[in-house]
Symmetry: C2
């Protein structure tokens, strides 16, 4: 048994299953953790324990939080009448890092998918429709992925809100900031050209 | 506060400091762990706790183990009279994965370095010399990195054993298995040419 002990082997195997890691990077991480036991390993174990015990979904929007209502839903300054609909919490965090959106979010928990038999009831779509009605929302921004399933989901939500007074918008598509045209796919270039603006 | 709670933020920051990870991959890992709390997160916390409590260095060779003597040093079949000297535990594990070496190891814990003021007493070199004498070792294989510091360390150990009957050897240098000549550095090609063998 090369790698120390059964526990060390199990730890490497578990680490190797995390996204972006493999056996080699997991071994490096575990070796570093063992040599930095007090400053990293014990701290990591404690934080994992605390987060595992405390983390749950915000009852309103589905963001991850350690309370019933997340910090964004609890902040009265963010009651702007805008709800940004995202696929998952990673996308919510990405939008928050941008810092441009000051309204609230709604995490669907996935996208509609005929192939994987995911219907509206499997996502947080009924909650969204109830929430829009109750909160008298003015605008719903669909920040869903530009994939087939993402766009199907966006269309489904837009259809469901067609008879209401709510404005439904989507993120603009075009050339990314700092993006080189030469490296962009044809679809993005076509979309950017169609949506061209006067300078 | 976008990312859930202070504990989640702290967990991401700690994860991002592990080798090979950054803020983005740490966020992905933490999000996956939260969604797989029972199957991964709690298990990971427990394993980290157990390894932090149990892991220590083998008193003989410096390998990481959960006992005083590692499995390799405790295995009588591996008392072949050969000691393979390695820089760190990662290198020991790499050699064990190869499975070609059936003797025992000695982990130096680094290499000599004038720049970083690392002398023989800062490494496990005195222990190595005592061990070679006491065990009546026949051969010492220096499997040290092909860097300046690694080779300085190898020369230092070879010098210290010059007046003994111990055979001191080093790993062969040459073309890696499956290596394309075109992609190899000049030093490796020169070394492989000098050490050419009759087929």
């Amino acid at each position: 048994m090369a790698a120390g002990s059964d526990d060390i082997q199990a730890l490497i195997a578990l680490m190797a299953r995390l996204p972006g890691l493999g056996p080699r990077s997991a071994r490096r991480i575990v070796l570093q953790l063992i040599t930095r036991r007090d400053s990293q390993m014990i701290q990591l174990a404690q934080l994992l324990d605390r987060v595992a015990a405390g983390a749950r979904e915000c009852l309103t929007c589905g963001n991850i939080t350690d309370r019933d209502t997340c910090a964004i839903c609890a902040d009265p300054a963010r009651a702007t009448g805008e709800i940004c609909v995202v696929q998952d919490v990673a996308d919510l965090w990405a939008l928050e890092r941008g810092g441009a959106f000051r309204g609230r979010y709604h995490v669907l928990g996935g996208t509609l998918s005929a192939l994987d038999e995911i219907g509206p009831e499997d996502l947080r779509i009924p909650d969204l429709l109830t929430r829009i009605e109750e909160d008298r929302t003015a605008e719903v921004i669909l920040a869903l992925p530009a994939t087939v399933d993402g766009q199907t989901t966006a269309h489904y939500i837009a259809d469901a809100l067609a008879d209401t007074a709510v404005a439904v918008t989507g993120l603009a598509q075009g050339v990314p900031i700092g993006g080189e045209l030469d490296y962009l796919d044809d679809g993005t270039i076509t979309a950017a050209l169609r949506a061209r603006r006067r300078i």
